[in-house]
Symmetry: C2
């Protein structure tokens, strides 16, 4: 691993690293925030998955999460949102290809060669973090929009792997909204049966573990009705008896101003599960 | 004034406004954060001046100051760093022209026509803010790097206008470092006698008001020795008997990670003076 940025932050260190991912078969960047407590011993890890068009930079520069991670002694790990590079398939659109990996394993050409973000985030990344950093294997996962979808799906697909999960303005039912339909058709093919495995509102029905879902959603979010539709997750959780805390936040939009306003509550939620 | 962005943030509202500045003779943008307390009554105002290459966006997206402004009930006003527009003189360099106004009133062609950031920030902007928003006339001022220079100079040149002043990694002696020498030669001309009026380390000797200066400086700042040289301000304050609290912060660099780490302490410092 090669360190390409390092900044003191709230008594800890916000670094950006670069490494060769075997799963994705390309060079990847990720942010790692080590809180001051990591100088004394191992700390739990909160994984953050960002949304469409983002890289590892957005969350670490805009969310203000380091303050809370330092308070609670959590490591923050923020991967990029897709495989990257000149050899990696891409599309002209902002919502497909590089910057838009949707945290799944693609099965269709030309995407299948590199687009395996699920396995990268669920397996390769924790193995790397737990070997190279003062990290325990207590893991939480959170994210925003496409990354909120990713956090929910990774937690639901991998029982026992995460002790806590939360999301900001997640795409809760990608099979049934334009962003998800476009991406799933490209990455997974036209057979919608294969889509169910990557849709949080479908996965709750079969979840073997009742990990509580914490979701914050702005009522002023410009994508609320068209792409996010949190009521679909609420209905699925009610039908399955899956614990969900869905908080509608009056006035808040889809931006990092929304995330920054409530990230402290999410970090505290994860810390309670990870350190408690 | 025309509102061009509006985001709920920490219970208040982060807006971006655009207006025609009479002093600068161009269209200007500025950030205005209204804390929740502004819904009940008038609040004091903390002005923030950003550094080289910045616009009104950097501080409002990266510093995380809204949380503390909401806690203390302060309005945050963040102007751009220079006049802007196709009709405004510019240079190819990042440290001269648009994005590099140095918060002074230029006297030399071609700059004198628009580059009057001192009068804009000290006079036009507060008049606008106090007329258009629920703001009192209790004003604090802070800033980073070139904007730290601006905050110190504006406070020292305008006794009674600000109740509190602070700076992050300020250019404390622009007359004697490359960034300042280049800008002052262009904006003020080659006669260095004119430069003294825009140099905090020169102004403290003649200050009629002993407003305490709060300065945070990272020891890992890449510009510390070449451009910042806080020891010059310390020597000037000691010679003049001017109160200075200069805090050297081990490990911190020149970035917004440094600002975000300590902006809470600065907002509390201003709040104590502005609301106390």
């Amino acid at each position: 691993m090669q360190r390409i940025e390092s900044h003191a932050s709230h008594g800890g260190i916000q670094d950006v690293w670069q490494h060769e991912s075997a799963v994705l078969d390309c060079t990847m960047r990720l942010g790692v925030y080590l809180p001051p407590q990591a100088q004394q011993g191992r700390c739990p890890v909160l994984y953050w998955l960002s949304g469409l068009t983002c890289s590892e930079q957005n969350f670490i520069t805009k969310a203000g999460a380091q303050r809370y991670a330092a308070e609670h002694g959590l490591i923050l790990v923020t991967p990029d949102t897709s495989p990257r590079g000149a050899d990696v398939a891409d599309a002209q659109a902002y919502d497909l290809g590089q910057g838009a990996g949707f945290y799944l394993n693609a099965t269709q050409a030309p995407w299948a060669a590199h687009y395996r973000m699920h396995d990268y985030v669920a397996q390769e990344l924790p193995a790397l973090i737990e070997a190279q950093f003062p990290a325990t294997d207590a893991r939480g996962i959170s994210g925003h929009s496409m990354g909120g979808h990713g956090a929910l799906v990774l937690a639901l697909r991998n029982p026992g792997r995460y002790r806590s999960v939360s999301a900001f303005a997640p795409i809760v039912a990608p099979s049934r909204v334009p962003w998800g339909e476009k991406a799933f058709a490209a990455y997974l093919g036209e057979d919608r049966a294969a889509w169910r495995e990557w849709d949080a509102s479908e996965l709750v029905a079969g979840a073997s573990e009742r990990l509580p879902l914490l979701v914050d959603q702005g009522e002023g979010d410009e994508f609320l009705a068209s792409q996010l539709q949190p009521e679909r997750l609420r209905a699925a959780c009610e039908a399955a008896g899956h614990p969900l805390r869905l908080r509608m936040r009056a006035g808040y939009d889809h931006s990092y101003y929304f995330i920054a306003s409530f990230i402290g509550e999410h970090v505290a939620h994860h810390a309670a599960a990870l350190r408690g």
